[in-house]
Point group: D2
Chain length 140, copies 4
């Protein structure tokens, strides 16, 4: 594993909120990250579906990790903004997210995240899609 | 309290993910909702700031609750999409959110959420701002 | 051509602002639309690049046309909101847009638009990407 | 008028697409810009309302001009992304836009734009609202 992939793995795993939610890193490559949450009742909104905030958190954090794979040593990323469309009410065993860098940059990276639920029969259904803009900063 | 304000309070409080995060309802009025989280280490991202996902969750859920105050009995709201700009690295004792309906509608409501941190000296600083579009549906 | 593809073609071509900009319909299929502008000086912003407003207009209108291909007779679409990321300064002979419906729906359609410039050597480069949410309404 | 306000005025007025659309600068101050279009048939979409692309163009360009008032000499701004919510079908004599910088920054500025139609009776109605993120760059 390259230095930058190791750094991306560290960033994914060290964030306390991500541990608290139960997010797991599944796959990592240059410009790409995949993650997963085993869904529990605590992840739901008032009607029994996965809360938009859980989907947004996974979409944002997985996007950030994908961006880290393409920056240089001594740099870090911070989310500047994101937009997420919730396409279907989300219910299933797992929530999965696949994030792909659309445009890496010296000062801004743009990443797309697709969020799926995996149902009991193993079928994966797209439930939300996000576009995430990250600022690339010098760590000091 | 009107029937619809009571329903909004129920929607805010019954969502398991909102309880799990420690979000509290602070104020509620027609087209308006205010909420708060007492910040803990578990709400942080990798650099010690409040995770964007925590801010997004509070912005989305408080917006949805504000929208519920203006719908009719037998209707419910679901987030269709939202966009959030993270304006400053967020650190403090509390995370607060104030949501105001910008445009109520029969099929779509648009709500704005402003998220603040309250620092140790009591000062409140705007850390993010979101625009949330909610679909208004017939509950069946 | 099906009734709905004919209606989509009509919607694309009849809009006065689209004619004024010089947008042409290139291809149309169920859930898909492609369009083009032959770029002139009048489409530029202050630094000689294609104005973000031109890119946004093409992304929105092509998305709306793609959505029309999947609605029923007696329905129409109106843009509820869109978000566009400008990825690179845009310069070339043509501006092209390809829009694909991500999620058709009875009350909301979500469409993605990719905008390219075609350079003098014929190469196409992605310059912006938009996500467009459209309300599906009964025409009266 | 300060150097930076003069530069903002120049940026607003020199853009060919803005001239072509008939946009006029109405007011300018530190962090603020107001603009207007006298509406004509050519600004319409297929149902006789102001095209979302016209609203987006005015929202983006007025936001960019507001951002320019707060940058330093030798810097320029480029739109990184924006999101616009179309709140009501827009019809009237004038389209107006007021843009206010929400968060100036050394590398990113976030600006909000409110777009109004002015009806024949002089009443102004909010028709759309945008959030615009601009990259602040060194001009070379």
């Amino acid at each position: 594993m390259s230095t930058q992939l190791l750094e991306a793995r560290r960033v994914f795993e060290v964030a306390p909120f991500i541990r608290d939610l139960g997010c797991q890193l599944i796959a990592l490559d240059d410009g790409f990250c995949e993650s997963r949450i085993a869904l529990e009742t605590r992840h739901q909104q008032q009607d029994g579906f996965v809360h938009a905030g859980v989907q947004a958190t996974l979409a944002d954090h997985t996007a950030g990790t994908a961006a880290v794979t393409l920056i240089s040593e001594g740099e870090l990323v911070l989310t500047a903004e994101f937009k997420i469309n919730l396409l279907r009410a989300a219910k299933g065993r797992y929530l999965l997210c696949r994030s792909q860098v659309l445009k890496p940059g010296r000062s801004l990276s743009v990443v797309e995240s697709e969020v799926f639920v995996e149902r009991d029969d193993g079928q994966q259904v797209l439930v939300s899609k996000a576009t995430v803009t990250l600022a690339v900063l010098q760590s000091t």
